[in-house]
C-alpha cells in the first residue's frame, strides 16, 4: 500500500516536471554552465525517469517480486525494450535540442530559401550549362550530374574490368591466372584515397604539357591539362539515331528467329556477325542516302603566354575526371572480380562437365550454362560494390573534381554558411542514389532468378 502512494507521487512529479518544461521552458536553463546546453535533453529525460520509477513502484504494490518469479516477470520482459527505446529517443532529442538551442543562441535561422539565391561561383566542368548567375539549386543539380557521371563511368568500367579479371582468375593459363590474382591483391589492399592521389599527382603529372604532347590516335591529345578529343558536329543527327534504333530492333528480331531456327531445325546461324554487320551497315547507309553528315572539330594548339599553351575546340576531359574514374574503377573492379570468381566457382563442376559432354565449346559452356546460373550469385554482392563506388566518388573533393561534395557541400556550404541544411540535403541525395541503384539491381536480380512455377 505504501508503494502505491509512492508510485502516485512519482507519477505526479513526472507530470509536473513535464508540464513545467513544456509551458515554462526549462527552469534549469540558467544552471547549465556550458554553451553546449548538454543538460537540456537530459532534463527532458527526467520525467521519463520519474514515470518509470513510479511504474516500478506500482508494479511492486500488486505483485511481490522475488528472485524466483523475476525471470517470468513483465519487468524483465519489457525493461530491455524500454531502455532501448528511451536511449534512441534520448539520442534523437539530444541532437535536435542541441542544434536548435545553439542555432538560436547564435542567431542562425534554419531554412532552404538560400537555394534560389545566386550562386556566384564558377565550376570547372559541367555537363549542362552552368554560370555563376544561376541559383544554388541549379549548382546542386549540375554538381549532382557530375557525381552521377563519374559513378556511371566507374560502374561501367569496373564491371568490364571486373568480369574480365574474374574470369581470368580461373583461366587454365598460368600467366593470365596469376597476373589477374596479383592485380586483385594489389589494388584491393591500397586505400582508395591514396590511389586517387596516385593517379592524379603521380601518373597524370607525368603527362606532357600541351605543347609537347604528341597526338594519340591521330587527333586526340593526352596532356597535363586534360584529354582533348575532336568534337562531333552532326548534321541530321536524329536520322542517324533512328537508324541505330532500327538496327537494334532488327537484331532483336534476328536473334529471335535464330533461336527458333535452332530449336526447331537445329540449324546454327552466326547471329553475332550478322548483328555486327547490321549495326554498321544501317547507320552507314544514312550517310549515303539520309543526308547525314559528320564533321570533326579538331582541337588546335593555342598559345596563352610564352610558355603556356592550351588546346582550343573539341572536347576537353579534365584530368580530375580521368584520375577519379581510373582510380574508382580499378579499385572497385577488384571486388567485382572476386564476386564474379565466387559466382563461377559456386556452380558445381558437374554442370560444366555435363555441358562439355553435350559437345558445347568452352565459350558456349561459359555463356549458356555457367554464366546464367552464376549471375544469381554474382548480382547481390556486386550491387554492394556499385553502391560503394558511388559513395566513394565523394573522394573527388580531394582532387578538385567538381562533384556534389566539393561544389555543394563545399563551396555552397561555405558561401551560405548553412551547414545543417546543405549537409542534410547532400546526405539525402547520396541515400537516394544508393537506394535507386539498389532497387535497379534488385529488379535485375528478380529478372534472372530461378522462376519457380
Amino acid at each position: 500500500m505504501k508503494f502505491r502512494i509512492l508510485a502516485y507521487l512519482f507519477f505526479f512529479v513526472g507530470i509536473a516536471d513535464l508540464f513545467i518544461k513544456i509551458f515554462y521552458g526549462n527552469i534549469f536553463s540558467d544552471l547549465t554552465e556550458d554553451y553546449y546546453e548538454i543538460a537540456n535533453p537530459i532534463l527532458v529525460f527526467t520525467p521519463v525517469l520519474f514515470f518509470s520509477i513510479g511504474g516500478i513502484f506500482l508494479k511492486e504494490s500488486k505483485v511481490s517480486l522475488t528472485l524466483e518469479n523475476f525471470g517470468t516477470s513483465r519487468i524483465k520482459y519489457y525493461s530491455p525494450q524500454f531502455i532501448c527505446l528511451s536511449v534512441v529517443v534520448l539520442i534523437f532529442l539530444f541532437f535536435t535540442f542541441n542544434a536548435q538551442m545553439n542555432m538560436e543562441n547564435r542567431g542562425i535561422d534554419f531554412g532552404f530559401g538560400f537555394l534560389t539565391q545566386e550562386a556566384s561561383f564558377d565550376m570547372q566542368f559541367s555537363l549542362m550549362d552552368y554560370d555563376g548567375q544561376d541559383p544554388y539549386w541549379w549548382a546542386y543539380v549540375v554538381a549532382l550530374l557530375n557525381t552521377l557521371l563519374v559513378a556511371v563511368l566507374g560502374i561501367i568500367f569496373c564491371t568490364i574490368i571486373g568480369v574480365i579479371v574474374g574470369i581470368a582468375r580461373l583461366s587454365p593459363n598460368f600467366l593470365i591466372r596469376n597476373s589477374a590474382a596479383w592485380y586483385v591483391e594489389f589494388f584491393r589492399n591500397i586505400p582508395l584515397l591514396l590511389q586517387i592521389f596516385f593517379w592524379y599527382y603521380a601518373a597524370l603529372r607525368a603527362l606532357p604539357l600541351p605543347q609537347d604532347a604528341s597526338p594519340l590516335f591521330g587527333v586526340t591529345y593526352l596532356t597535363i591539362k586534360g584529354y582533348y578529343m575532336p568534337a562531333f558536329i552532326w548534321n541530321n543527327l536524329n536520322i542517324f539515331l533512328y537508324s541505330i534504333l532500327a538496327a537494334i530492333i532488327a537484331i532483336i528480331f534476328i536473334r529471335y528467329y535464330a533461336n527458333k531456327l535452332r530449336d526447331n531445325e537445329g540449324k546454327q546461324i552466326p547471329v553475332f556477325y550478322i548483328s555486327l554487320i547490321i549495326l554498321f551497315i544501317l547507320p552507314a547507309l544514312t550517310f549515303l542516302a539520309g543526308g547525314v553528315s559528320l564533321n570533326f572539330e579538331i582541337p588546335v594548339l593555342k598559345q596563352l603566354s610564352a610558355t603556356s599553351f592550351i588546346y582550343d575546340g573539341g572536347i576537353a576531359v579534365p584530368p580530375e575526371l580521368i584520375a577519379l574514374t581510373l582510380a574508382l574503377s580499378l579499385y572497385t573492379a577488384t571486388f567485382v572480380a572476386e564476386c564474379v570468381r565466387a559466382g563461377i566457382q559456386g556452380i558445381s563442376k558437374g554442370q560444366k562437365e555435363a555441358a562439355a559432354s553435350l559437345g558445347l565449346t568452352p565459350n558456349q559452356v561459359l555463356k549458356l550454362v555457367i554464366m546464367p546460373q552464376a549471375l544469381r550469385i554474382i548480382i547481390p554482392p556486386t550491387t554492394n560494390q556499385y553502391l560503394n563506388l558511388t559513395k566513394n566518388s565523394s573522394l573527388a573533393a580531394a582532387i578538385a573534381y567538381p562533384d556534389l561534395v566539393l561544389v555543394f557541400a563545399g563551396t555552397a556550404l561555405m558561401q551560405t554558411g548553412r551547414a545543417i541544411e546543405i549537409v542534410s540535403i547532400t546526405m539525402l541525395t547520396y541515400l537516394s542514389i544508393s537506394l535507386a541503384i539498389a532497387a535497379l539491381m534488385n529488379w535485375y536480380n528478380k529478372l534472372i532468378e530461378i522462376k519457380e512455377k
Binding site: L31, T32, E33, D34, Y35, Y36, I38, A39, I42, I56, S64, L65, T66, L67, E68, F70, I75, N102, M103, N105, R106, G107, I108, S120, F121, D122, M123, Q124, G132, Y201, R205, L209, I224, K225, K302, L304, S305, A306, T307, S308, I310, D312, P318, P319, E320, A397, A398, I399, A400, P402, L406, G410, T411, L413, M414, Q415, T416, G417, R418, A419
Partner: protein, 377 residues
C-alpha cells in the same frame, strides 16, 4: 551540471538493481530509505552549490570567458599552414601574426601567452568549428564580409591584416600583368573562400573565359599549380607570397602587381557573447596601439613611469580598463610583454622571413598606412 548528474545517476545505479533483486521486504524497505536519503542529500547539495556560486559579473555574463578560465587554455582555430600567419614548425610550435592574436588573448585572460590550444582548420571547416563551439577564436586569415558578419552567427572583431587578392604566374610565361590573360586560362584556388567569388567577378568583368580548378587544401593547390596543372594561382597576396616559399623553385614565380579585391583579414568570434568579443577586439587593438605609442615587449615595464597618461593606461599603471571585461588591470601589459606590439609581431613573422618585407597598408596610420584603432581609454 555533469558532476551533479553523474551523482544522481550513481544514486540510482548503486541501489536500484539491488532493490529489484532483493526478495526480503524489510531489506527492500531499507534500500528504498537509502535511495530517498541519498536523493534528498543530493538535492540539498545541488541547491547549496548554486546558492553560493560566486563569480565576477563579466565572467557570469560571458560563458566563453568562464569556460576558458576553467579549462586553462584559449581554443584557437588557425590555418593548416600559411607561413607568416599561422604555421607550425617541426616541433609543433605555432608562429604567425594570426597566432599572435590568440596568444595575446591567452596572455590577457590566462596570464600566459603559451596557454593556447591551436586547431588547424580548412577554409571549409572554419566557421562550423567556431559556431559549434569547438574553438573560441578563429584567427585564420579570414576575410571580413557583410554576409559572413551578419548571416551565419559570426562577429568579426577587427582587422589584423589588410590584404587583397592577386595572381601568381610562372616567370617564364612572360606575363607581367593581368591584362595579358587570354581565354582558356586555368586558375587554381581554394574552395570555400572569397577568392572563388572574386575570381569570377574579375574574369567576367574582363570578359575572359577561364577554367577554375578549386581544391580543398592549400597544399594541394600549390602542388597542382607547381606541377603545371594551372597557368595561374590566385589567392590573397599575402598568401601568394607565403605559399611561394613552399614551391620547389620560388624564384620561378612572380606575383602580378594588380590587386583585384579588398581582403581585410581579421579574427572572428561567435555571435552572442559580447564580453568575449570585446576581449578579443581589445587584445588586438592593444597590440596595434602599443606600437603607436612605441611600447615594446622590452620597454613595457619601464613605460609604467611614463608621463603620457595614454601609455600609462595601456601598461596598466593608470585607470581600470580591465574591469569591464572581468580582467585585472595588468592584462594589456601582459599582452605587450609576452607577445609584443603589432610591429614586433609583423617583423618577427612576416618581414624577417622575407614574405612581405614592405608593410604597405599594414603600416600605422601615422606612418602612411591604414592601421588605425580606437583609443584604449
Amino acid at each position: 551540471m555533469s558532476y551533479s548528474l553523474s551523482a544522481l545517476l550513481n544514486i540510482f545505479k548503486n541501489n536500484l538493481f539491488e532493490y529489484l533483486l532483493t526478495n526480503k521486504r524489510t531489506r527492500r524497505g531499507i534500500i528504498m530509505f537509502k535511495i530517498i536519503k541519498q536523493f534528498t542529500s543530493f538535492v540539498a547539495m545541488v541547491a547549496v552549490l548554486f546558492a553560493f556560486t560566486t563569480e565576477t559579473m563579466a565572467a557570469k555574463k560571458s560563458k566563453t570567458l568562464k569556460n576558458t578560465q576553467k579549462k586553462g587554455f584559449v581554443r584557437c582555430g588557425v590555418s593548416q599552414g600559411l607561413p607568416g600567419f599561422s604555421n607550425a614548425d617541426a616541433s609543433g610550435n605555432w608562429t604567425g601574426v594570426d597566432v599572435d592574436v590568440c596568444r595575446a588573448v591567452a596572455a590577457a585572460v590566462l596570464g600566459d601567452a603559451n596557454k593556447v590550444k591551436f586547431t588547424p582548420l580548412s577554409a571549409k571547416e572554419r566557421f562550423t568549428a567556431l559556431t559549434s563551439g569547438e574553438i573560441d577564436v578563429l584567427s585564420r586569415n579570414t576575410t571580413w564580409t557583410l554576409s559572413r558578419d551578419a548571416d551565419i552567427g559570426l562577429t568579426f572583431v577587427g582587422v589584423n591584416f589588410y590584404d587583397g587578392q592577386g595572381f601568381m604566374v610562372r616567370k617564364s610565361s612572360g606575363i607581367t600583368s593581368t591584362s595579358q590573360f587570354k581565354d582558356g586560362i586555368s586558375a587554381c584556388t581554394n574552395i570555400g573562400t572569397t577568392t572563388e567569388l572574386n575570381m569570377r567577378d574579375f574574369f567576367n568583368s574582363k570578359g575572359i573565359s577561364y577554367e577554375p580548378v578549386a581544391f580543398e587544401k592549400a597544399d594541394e593547390v600549390v602542388a597542382a599549380y607547381d606541377a603545371g596543372r594551372c597557368d595561374t594561382y590566385t589567392t590573397d597576396k599575402s598568401g601568394l607570397a607565403a605559399q611561394r616559399t613552399k614551391m620547389s623553385n620560388p624564384d620561378e614565380h612572380i606575383v602580378l602587381p594588380e590587386t583585384i579585391s579588398k581582403e581585410p583579414l581579421g579574427p572572428v568570434v561567435r555571435q552572442g557573447d559580447s564580453v568575449w568579443e570585446d576581449i578579443v577586439r581589445w587584445s588586438l587593438n592593444t597590440m596595434i596601439e602599443a606600437e603607436e605609442y612605441g611600447i615594446t615587449s622590452a620597454n613595457a615595464d619601464s613605460m609604467k613611469t611614463s608621463d603620457n597618461p595614454a601609455i600609462k593606461r595601456l601598461v596598466g599603471a593608470e585607470g581600470e580598463l580591465g574591469a569591464a571585461f572581468g580582467l585585472d588591470n595588468e592584462w594589456s601589459l601582459r599582452i605587450i610583454k609576452q607577445v609584443g606590439n603589432y610591429g614586433e609581431s609583423y617583423k618577427r613573422n612576416i618581414a624577417d622571413p622575407g614574405i612581405l618585407p614592405d608593410r604597405g597598408p599594414n603600416e600605422l596610420w601615422t606612418k602612411g598606412g591604414i592601421l588605425y584603432v580606437p583609443p584604449a581609454r
